[in-house]
């Protein structure tokens, strides 16, 4: 009987829990208002003699994870006020999943390598404006502005850029040389397409060597459309403009290159990042002349064989304006004021010129400050490894990543359209018109 009671408690509880789940979800948004207010009074807080210990959650592994560990250790040694305890997750998604549970249970890390605009609006993240204002050494003008702007939500700074990423072009030096093409001349997509056609080798109607391999997904086709002057939304933010001539012409070019001319190829599907590495593999194994990839690929590439260049623009339009996005970190609102202060200290350390430059050299990601270009170590490094400064230079004239007001529905529509064009050979006009209709109805729904 006793046991029976115990059981009843447990199973009864599970029912109660399920019932309370919806309630909790609702509570989540309402509790949001208070913590950020509590957090704002922080900068004046007196420093105690005991070091403040904070947790920093980050979803990085491999080379990036090792470098992060090294940076955390270096920070802990460099001063005695803050101790950062790094806790690694498998990836960014896992960090967010765990953070969600942590916030719900009020047992939070102070610093996380994660950002979410919705959560910032709901007050889960602390606004950093007061902390920034109190820090005389915080030079906002030195940051890559696109990166810093991304962390602003409704005019307030919520997230700080830890490092950036953008899509750049990697080409085989030998392939271009053999075809007599000067990489410096490839400043437009038209020129690149001509070069790709020249380098493509075919046997019996089948391509054996591709002139170029764009990466699967909407990412680099969006980049190319933006470079041509397209935009996702109209200026007033009320119309989805992904079916404008700029978009259709751009995407139609890609469809033609891939399916009709067969001078470019897309690896798609597979497990996880399989398509990504298959694309890289093709280039490294001399099956393609080059590919469009991430600045973060630099760690995996052999620069004896390949070199990097910026994304091209379009003839008569100007230089490329691809998206450069920052991987951002935030401070959780439910952390105590001292912990928030400590977390901010850790972030500013990570973003110091020499540290962000060092991170860039070791990982290939983009430094977040312009002054990294003047850092002596970075300068010396980029003389030997010219590819390292390509992403940072591109970032200086880059577009801000599209922040989807529908919470991802517009991006989804673009993703579907990209698949239609890249894989199914659907005319760009049809694919983009369909995507526009879907995206517009989603946008209308939220603006009502």
């Amino acid at each position: 009987m006793k046991q029976g009671l115990k059981r009843s408690w447990k199973s009864g509880m599970s029912m109660l829990l399920a019932a309370s789940f919806t309630l909790l979800a609702a509570c989540g948004s309402s509790t949001g208002e208070t913590p950020s207010a509590a957090a704002s009074g922080t900068p004046a807080a007196a420093e105690s003699s005991k070091p403040v210990e904070i947790e920093f959650w980050y979803g990085l592994g491999g080379n990036l994870g090792d470098n992060m560990k090294a940076k955390i250790d270096a920070f802990n040694v460099s001063q005695d006020e803050v101790i950062v305890k790094g806790i690694a997750q498998a990836d960014y998604t896992e960090t967010e999943q765990k953070l969600q549970a942590a916030i719900a249970s009020n047992n939070v890390p102070a610093a996380v390598l994660s950002s979410n605009i919705d959560w910032a609006r709901k007050g889960y993240y602390a606004s950093l404006d007061d902390l920034i204002a109190a820090d005389a050494n915080f030079k906002a003008e030195d940051f890559v502005q696109t990166f810093l702007d991304q962390g602003k939500v409704d005019g307030k700074q919520y997230f700080l850029p830890m490092y950036g990423t953008t899509q750049v072009m990697y080409y085989r030096k030998d392939a271009l040389e053999a075809a007599g093409i000067d990489p410096a001349s490839l400043t437009t997509w038209e020129a690149l397409a001509d070069a790709a056609a020249k380098m493509t080798k075919k046997e019996g109607g089948k391509t054996t060597f591709y002139g170029w391999e764009p990466m699967w997904g909407e990412g680099n086709m969006i980049d190319a459309a933006l470079s041509r002057g397209g935009s996702v939304l109209s200026e007033d933010g009320k119309t989805v403009t992904i079916d404008s001539p700029e978009w259709i012409e751009t995407w139609e070019h890609f469809r033609k290159w891939i399916h009709e001319d067969q001078i470019m190829r897309i690896h798609s599907g597979g497990q996880g990042w399989e398509y990504w590495y298959k694309t890289i593999d093709d280039v490294m194994k001399n099956k393609a002349a080059g590919y469009t990839g991430s600045s973060g690929d630099q760690g995996d590439l052999d620069f004896g064989i390949v070199a990097a260049m910026e994304q091209p623009g379009w003839e008569g339009v100007g230089e490329g304006k691809p998206v450069a996005s920052a991987i951002q970190a935030g401070i959780v609102a439910k952390a105590s004021p001292e912990q928030q202060q400590a977390a901010f200290k850790w972030f500013t350390y990570f973003m110091q010129t020499e540290n962000t430059a060092d991170w860039s050299m070791k990982t290939g990601y983009i430094a977040v400050r312009q002054s990294a270009l003047d850092d002596p170590a970075f300068k010396a490094f980029s003389e030997k490894n010219p590819q390292i400064s390509v992403p940072l230079q591109q970032a200086s004239h880059a577009s801000v990543p599209f922040q989807d007001p529908t919470g991802g529905k517009i991006t989804d529509a673009l993703k579907v359209a990209a698949d239609q064009v890249q894989i199914n050979n659907v005319p760009a006009e049809q694919a983009l018109k369909e995507a526009q209709a879907k995206a517009q109805s989603e946008l209308d729904r939220i603006s009502k």
């Binding site: 199973s11 829990l17 399920a18 789940f21 491999g62 719900a104």
Partner: protein, 307 residues
């Protein structure tokens, strides 16, 4: 039906089986022979199809990365690279992960055997007020998807300071409605007279449960333990959510971590395949030894099927 009756039935069944065996020795008509052959061929094909992924995983672990990507694929590795297994084993603390998984799963099994059988006993052979509604309530708990209670359960564990600990991993999984129902079905097959006989002889409920009932439903226990063990060994999301110390990772989370770190997001397939192969090895060994019981479990748990 009393014990002698059931034994008789059992004996008859034995005899029936014996008869069948005898008949199979006789000459079989050609038509039936062909039919049987077709059946065997189909069975062989199906079982090969089932076994193939495992074969592919183990042999891929022995290939080089280039060989894995090659088309057409090779069915037997050109050169056997045992070093992939050693590499994978050494590049992440898999021994630790496997210990964690096995330790946690065994603890959970032991706890569940005790509490699920007590619960099932109470639900089937004890009389108390509101037994019906109470049973229904437990059943209702079974209908709630586990994912829906992750967050509240997390908050409770946090209040109890059990996050990020073995205790949390074990306690949060120590009650399973599935186990209760599996055992409840088994207890319902045992005639109530046995319990009454025990009571007449002055045995306590506890005694009746452990010395009379348990031996009778041994096989159900075995099934329950096996299913629970396999489920807990494979458990991924929940343990991942409630732990942050890498030393507490279970094997599935460890494998995922390895896929990202050591496997470089799927660049080093041989190592990933090798790691996958040895992480499921304990389950394969378990299967080899408990084959019969696992087969039975398919039958037994049919009434209370999971998910």
């Amino acid at each position: 039906m009393n014990i002698t009756d059931s034994r008789k039935v059992e004996q008859e069944r034995e005899l029936g089986r014996g008869n069948k065996r005898e008949r199979s020795g006789k000459i079989v008509p050609v038509g039936e022979q062909i039919g049987r052959m077709i059946r065997y061929v189909v069975l062989v094909v199906v079982s090969l199809a089932m076994a193939f992924p495992f074969y592919w995983m183990v042999t891929s672990g022995l290939k080089t990365n280039d060989e894995i990507w090659r088309f057409p694929p090779t069915f037997w590795p050109e050169s056997i690279n045992w070093s992939n297994y050693a590499d994978a084993w050494n590049s992440a603390p898999f021994a630790r992960y496997m210990f964690n998984s096995i330790f946690v799963a065994v603890c959970i099994c032991v706890i569940q055997v005790v509490n699920a059988s007590m619960m099932a006993y109470a639900l089937t052979h004890m009389k108390f007020r509101l037994k019906g509604p109470f049973t229904a309530m437990v059943l209702l708990g079974y209908m709630i998807p586990t994912t829906a209670v992750y967050l509240p359960s997390y908050m409770i564990l946090n209040e109890l300071h059990l996050l990020d600990s073995y205790a949390g991993l074990i306690i949060s999984n120590s009650v399973s409605v599935f186990s209760i129902f599996l055992l409840r079905q088994a207890f319902m097959q045992v005639s109530h007279e046995l319990v009454e006989a025990g009571q007449l002889d002055g045995a306590s409920h506890f005694r009746i449960l452990w010395t009379i009932m348990s031996p009778l439903i041994r096989s159900s226990f075995a099934v329950m333990i096996l299913i629970t063990f396999i489920e807990q060994y494979n458990n991924y999301f929940w343990p991942m959510l409630i732990t942050k110390d890498p030393d507490l990772r279970l094997v599935s989370a460890g494998l995922r971590g390895f896929f990202v770190e050591g496997g470089a997001y799927g660049l080093a397939w041989p190592q990933i395949m090798a790691a996958s192969a040895f992480t499921i090895a304990p389950l394969l060994v378990l299967f080899a030894f408990a084959q019969k019981t696992i087969m039975q479990s398919v039958n037994m748990s049919a009434g209370v099927n999971k998910n």
